[in-house]
């Protein structure tokens, strides 16, 4: 955050999309700007309107979707801070089948 303010450039994080999010965005990987999850989701929504329509509501995920950070922990709160090198994985919540 501090670095962002100094440079005026928002931190970029890698984003990987799976299932419906991938189908809606039309890409498997992209990047988005933000130092927390809400900012990243808002940026993704701006870049990919079909993705927003199904998966993102403002700075939050719509019901049925979840984010995993760097294949580690699952998060949903828009205030979740992101660090340099984090990868945001956007996927459907109902993993079973």
């Amino acid at each position: 955050m501090f670095q962002e303010r100094l440079s005026g450039v928002a931190m970029q994080v890698a984003v990987e999309l799976f299932g419906i999010p991938r189908a809606r965005a039309g890409v498997a990987q992209t990047s988005a700007a933000g130092s927390n999850l809400g900012d990243v989701l808002a940026d993704l929504a701006q870049k990919f309107p079909p993705l927003a329509e199904t998966c993102i509501d403002g700075r939050s995920l719509r019901a049925g979707f979840v984010v995993n950070l760097s294949a580690d922990r699952f998060v949903t709160s828009p205030e979740t801070p992101l660090a340099e090198g984090d990868t945001v994985l956007l996927l459907s919540l109902d993993a079973g089948g």
Binding site: E16, F18, I20, L89, L93, A95, G96
Partner: protein
Amino acid sequence: MTPALPHAGLIEASYRKKFVTHSVPGYHGCYLRVDLSTGSSARIALDESRLRRVLGGSGLGVDILLNEGAAEADPLSENAALAFVFSPLVGSPLTTSAKFAVVSKSPLTQRINDSLASSGFAIAGKKTGHDAIVLVGKAPRPSVLVIDDENVSLEPADELWGLANRAAQDRLRERLGADYQVATIGPAGERLVRFATISHDGRHAGRGGSGAVLGAKNIKAIAVRGSRRTEWAHPQELVALAKRLSEKSFGPATAKYRELGTATNLLAFNRLNVLPTRNFQQGSFAGAEAISPEQLSVARERTRSSCAACTIGCEHLYGLKNGDGSVRLEYENLFALGPMCGISDPETVLAACKLCDELGLDTISAGGTIAFAMECAERGYIDAPWLRFGDGTALIRALESIVSGDELGRLLAEGSRSMALEVGHNSIAFAPQVKGLEIPGYDPRGLQTMALGFAVGTRGADHNRSGAYEVDFSEAVDRRNVNTEAVPLAIETEDKAALMDSLILCKFLRGVFSDFFAEAAEMLRLVTGWDVTAAELRATAARIVTTKKQFNIRAGWTPAEDTLPERILHEALPEDARAQLSPTRLATLIEAYNRARGWTPAGYVMEDIRSL
């Protein structure tokens, strides 16, 4: 029409003497019991209090089997019982309710087995006027059981014996008429392969070997046709509720199933390092992208299908390039016949899926057992130098050998647990099974709430009776370091599954409910007229889970069975050092689970079954 067997008339005569009428809306109030040995049948009354306690599907099935003494019987013996069970919601306008349960003791696990399948057989079977069809005994020769309302007969199946599922179903419909719904076993069931399925219209009662139980009874097929509908207590409200439910089923909660199918799990699981690969030696697969549905859709034709009375339409069929039609592809087929065996050639995986469908093999157990055999071959424990991870030709050859009955096939046909005990070299340590049932496509080391679900599951490692992976895919737990706080969450998924499997509704609908138990209570109230509540259904679900446990205890269950393979408990995933589950942690989770269920810490149920 082909002449009926000599004892067919006896079946009909006995049946008519014991006709019982129904009383509860949604039910016929009886089940049909056919003794294939004596050629007799009877209509057995089901009273209202019993139905309310166990509902239908899996719940009613295990209750009937306990009364039949099935827990103590050899599942492939004449004494064994097998039940096709319907439910109060079957035949209603509620979406996804056209389902039936096949319940028996499993020849693979020697424990309770309830497998569910869908579509027209459920509707037609219930319309014969019965809430369940229970088979005991053994037909004197290969036969087809034909049930046409109150008429029950056995017909010869000689011309069908040996046919693959689709061919047998087509031939039987030609013989009987297109208005019959047919369930068959393939060559695997005839040969008593312990993970043989029962097939209906391309769908399978897949897990646990119910196809072998039917084969042991000399029954190639069951054909049903009927004209008896049950009443609904509040039809107008039910239709209105069904309409709302159907509308919700078109929403985002089911989009994954509708648009992509379950196979789309593959790449997500691969990225999270929980995709079982090369017999659980790895949690990710370099060839995953090549066999992913996203890639398959680019290169070949894809069509969509659905079960009768379903608005989701989750089935995605992929064309084979050799012109051999198409095949339904689910995540479990894809994982088991792909990464689990190290196969990254999409054509081979699709051909293997189709072969399993036609032979009547459970894909999870087939893939798991072959992957285990591949590792045994690579270690030199079995003499099969051709059987190697990643070799597609070897995979197809191994599948064919399961029903050909050659030396390797004889071993494979018993499943990985029995095969390991025969192979020796402590290979049981890496046999991918719990209670004899091969583990589905969720690596328990990276999904440790699911690990608990697998370990305590009454039918063995099972993602359909415990949905605990949902807990792991959430913020509620640290999926690689799960503690006892996960236990009630795991139980909640198990209870939901027990209720869905007893009502019966498809689990792919679960995401549309905001309060499943309350909404299920309303559905049941509108169908039956019972003043049922969410609290009552929670108690019912727990009772059904406990009744299955009681079945297992009668069948010889011991606490030592509730565990995972040594490999899972002693080796971390190579891609993820944090994905490690110790025996101590698993034991702690299991004890907490048993206590939360109200059982003894070791997992025994103290109450008599009748008091549950």
